[in-house]
Symmetry: D2
Amino acid sequence: MSEIEEFEAKAKRYFGKEVTDRDRAIFEGAITLGAVYHQFVGTPISKDAKVVSTLEKAIEKTMSLQPYIEKIEVKIDFNKIREASHPYDYSEVGGRNLSIRLVSKYGKSRVHMEMSYIQELDYPLMFIEKIEEED
Amino acid sequence: MSEIEEFEAKAKRYFGKEVTDRDRAIFEGAITLGAVYHQFVGTPISKDAKVVSTLEKAIEKTMSLQPYIEKIEVKIDFNKIREASHPYDYSEVGGRNLSIRLVSKYGKSRVHMEMSYIQELDYPLMFIEKIEEED
Amino acid sequence: MSEIEEFEAKAKRYFGKEVTDRDRAIFEGAITLGAVYHQFVGTPISKDAKVVSTLEKAIEKTMSLQPYIEKIEVKIDFNKIREASHPYDYSEVGGRNLSIRLVSKYGKSRVHMEMSYIQELDYPLMFIEKIEEED
Amino acid sequence: MSEIEEFEAKAKRYFGKEVTDRDRAIFEGAITLGAVYHQFVGTPISKDAKVVSTLEKAIEKTMSLQPYIEKIEVKIDFNKIREASHPYDYSEVGGRNLSIRLVSKYGKSRVHMEMSYIQELDYPLMFIEKIEEED
């Protein structure tokens, strides 16, 4: 058994026996979804494309370190960065400009989830787009 | 249909059709688990019981506002607050002293989950303790 | 020399010799002003007075642990909590609803500073209200 | 008067009349020092040089948007990233591995400040290295 498998075997004992691969993949992905928002909300941003893309990449690279995250894409929407009416000319990461798509995978289950600001709800909704299960 | 039901009906259309109540309860609870850690890590704390309990209550009251969170209990472990070797005499919230237990409920599913620092893993593990489904 | 004085004596050696008590009092207070905002921005809040006052107290008690903070008052403005148009019915701490007043003291200097959302600037301004120096 | 000058002229009226350029430069720099720590503490990191340098750059680029910050350098120390004893193999940004050097400038005053983990103090000290004033 590799060191990873050993650690996971120990960790697994803390989970209820009824917890399936599907449950676990959802669990791990959703933790990261909540984590991204609450870690980075409030970070200063500007309309400078370089600033925005550097931050997007940093969020992707750091948050994909979390367990069982297969892929993560972060977009900060230029057009939703509040046009600064003042000349300090910066805004901040928040629910209206941040969107996240991630894929978590545990065992045979792969879950696609997302956070996006939804106009009709006026709310940054987190939702599960798709659950895939291998046979 | 109440205003809440209407909002939820709209929100639900963004979720894949295969997403069950159980999936959703896990999803909502895990978001909050990740959110608590990344929102409050770094908050200054001391061994003063009053400071600690005020912060515990604030985390509980604010984070239980998140959707579908039925209950949340937060403990910051006095004994794991690093004994300050310096006289500024404070420490900060982190994975070693923070533990969270929460219950999320969606439809007929109720999920108990937890974050605790696990000695044998030397890691603040987040795990699903129990999943309950009403008939 | 007390343990605190010893620590401070050591810490002081890292500061430039030109740094006065006044400089230091401003420095310590401003660190905490920046810290409060970036620590708590994004925390869920509702219009429930109990939730709001519990969070205000927790911010005050934890952030006043920072070095040389004599006093800190935090207000989260009910009226500026965005009226939730959705029934998840909560909002979050941000620059428009959070205000902070603090007093830092180092040696003979005491500095009063504040963060408030200023209507005419459409900006949560941090500013020094008053600097007092004992003879 | 440019738009920036106009905004600053208005903002300045909130500051006490006794506040000098030197006071203001210290104030603005220290806000950002406190902000960086409390914004990014808890962000997952690994020993992968690419992850670390991407995050360093993102912190530099975003936090230098804050008012009157002339320059900011962020280092996350590889050697102080806790060797993961577990195979999830990541750690997080904290006071022991993060160091920040910044220069703030207001009017004729330029202030160099720093946050570094200081071994002999066992503490991530924030300090003013140097204050420069033009004639």
